[in-house]
Symmetry: C2
Subunit: 315 residues, 2 copies
């Protein structure tokens, strides 16, 4: 049996192997991915992000348990773009996996940057697609940190949840602008701590302008994930947002936008491979560097010459 | 007088305008940038990053004042990738600019993401190049936040300074891996707070492995930027690292690596423009989305077809 046949027969080891191929950008991908894509399209993707220490993992685990209790099969992707050099699974993930193993329907995978961050955002999308094709009905994508790559990752999901904590204080100030724009649902976690109501009302005020422009009300949910308080409400809000997206007045636009994002993601990932293997190989790169160092050319002229050659030939 | 002539004559307004062109990716860039590049190459670039609240801006300002007191002309670029929607200058920057206006040699510019984060990392490089061409001898690039884009931005500098604070605690744990790899110099700022020695010794322990592999000792400097304590030592360490890079045994490799990074940065930025204007225009994109929605094709086949057409024509 090929790995694809095993995958299609529901073998979780085959899923894990295919995810490793996706991470390594192996040569079998151009054959595998379109086959997986045919099977995908059923899963709902929820992206969750927020500053370090907001309790994202605990909240994601509680959510996953609740979906699992409804016999849904769940994929969790934990992405850590700020640690390009840690590689495989981290200690925290191993502890999480032990906690979640009593739910057979939960499949958890952690990803760290290997190489560039853009590649990570793109390949986490392929991992989600593979989980989708495998039959996961719900995929939770969680990112550590709050940079642009994290925003890109969760923004590519159907529903985006931003998790804050009362004491975030000045760091929230700094991050608010980006986070406010991408969030469909806000969570104030650790809501037993002082300041929870203050931050909720502060966010609510900023959201009022957005709320006027759409039919979606951008709910703010207060939770204490560790005590399982408020997580059911978050789950309800996610279901409501799903209904809004798929049955609301903009359902058709939403579907097109989702396909566009998917196409751009795949294209940019394959383009990157193409450039590295066909255009700027080690050999040509060294030649260009010599040209620049000798003063015979400069990065701008070289880039333009390469792009012109592509352009001219295309006509 | 053209804007380029004014720029070359030392007009700071012309510099500001050219930076705006760079941010907007205006049509005059292909003509402007190679001209600027001819004049550039003298400035030294220092990248500074660290978690929110580490006191980066204060430290950068103190450093800049010290360079300015030596009659050096200084450029400061403050990049905020986590706020894609704030646009122009932030309140904090305006206050900073007022504080620094007594130094005529300091030119400060803030950049926030417009569109994708990759573009920000790339165009902040062009802004640095423009400041270099203008005659700034030292350019300080400061990023807010600690995601991959921030790492990319400061990593493209000659010397990378990572700024931490004693109380960063668990967030440091989470971020350490990426930051440890890119830093040439560590700063423990707000060193009067409890835990400063502990974090310094913790970092020192992790660095020991790296120290064995090179001649560079990865210094750790404790500072209280707000009281001007330790900033002179940081300045010395930056000078030492510059000497190590340019006069050390790997000086030639370092120069090649710098040119390679510059070429890749410029190429990727121009490639992105080319794709948007020539390959995936609104019209073709809509056609492809229809193909995918109707089931006639999928993102993988479409991406491969586009790249194959480029590839075949190139031969």
């Amino acid at each position: 049996m090929s790995i694809l046949e095993k995958f299609l027969a529901g073998d979780r080891l085959a899923l894990a192997k295919i995810i490793s191929h996706i991470e390594d950008r192996g040569p079998e991908l151009p054959h595998l991915l379109p086959r997986l894509y045919e099977k995908a399209g059923q899963a709902y993707r929820v992206g969750l992000t927020g500053p370090p220490g907001a309790g994202k993992s605990t909240l994601v685990d509680k959510l996953a348990e609740k979906y699992a209790a409804e016999s849904k099969s769940i994929g969790i992707i934990a992405v850590d773009p700020s640690s390009p050099f840690t590689g495989g699974a981290l200690l925290g993930d191993r502890i999480r996996m032990q906690n979640l193993t009593r739910f057979k329907q939960i499949f958890i995978r952690s990803m760290a940057t290997r190489g560039s961050a853009g590649g990570l955002a793109a390949s986490s999308g392929d991992v989600a697609m593979a989980m989708d094709a495998f039959g996961m009905s719900m995929i939770l994508i969680e990112t550590v940190g709050v940079g642009q790559v994290e925003l890109d990752i969760v923004d590519s999901c159907d529903t985006t949840v931003v998790i804050l904590v009362p004491e975030s204080g000045d760091s929230i100030q700094a991050l608010k602008a980006g986070l406010m724009e991408i969030a469909d649902i806000f969570v104030i976690n650790k809501a037993d701590r002082p300041g929870a109501e203050y931050i909720a009302s502060e966010i609510s005020m900023i959201l009022d302008a957005k709320r006027k422009r759409t039919d979606w009300l951008y709910p703010i949910v207060t939770t204490q994930a560790v005590n399982d308080i408020g997580v059911d409400i978050l789950k309800e809000k996610i279901a409501l947002h799903r209904q809004y997206l798929t049955a609301g007045p903009n359902a058709s636009d939403n579907r097109r936008r989702r396909v566009e994002k998917e196409l751009m993601r795949v294209f940019n990932l394959e383009l990157k491979d193409y450039i590295e293997k066909q255009i700027l190989t080690d050999k040509t790169l060294n030649y260009y560097i010599d040209e620049i160092l000798s003063g015979a050319s400069n990065p701008y002229e070289i880039s333009e010459a390469i792009l012109n050659s592509l352009d001219r030939n295309k006509r």
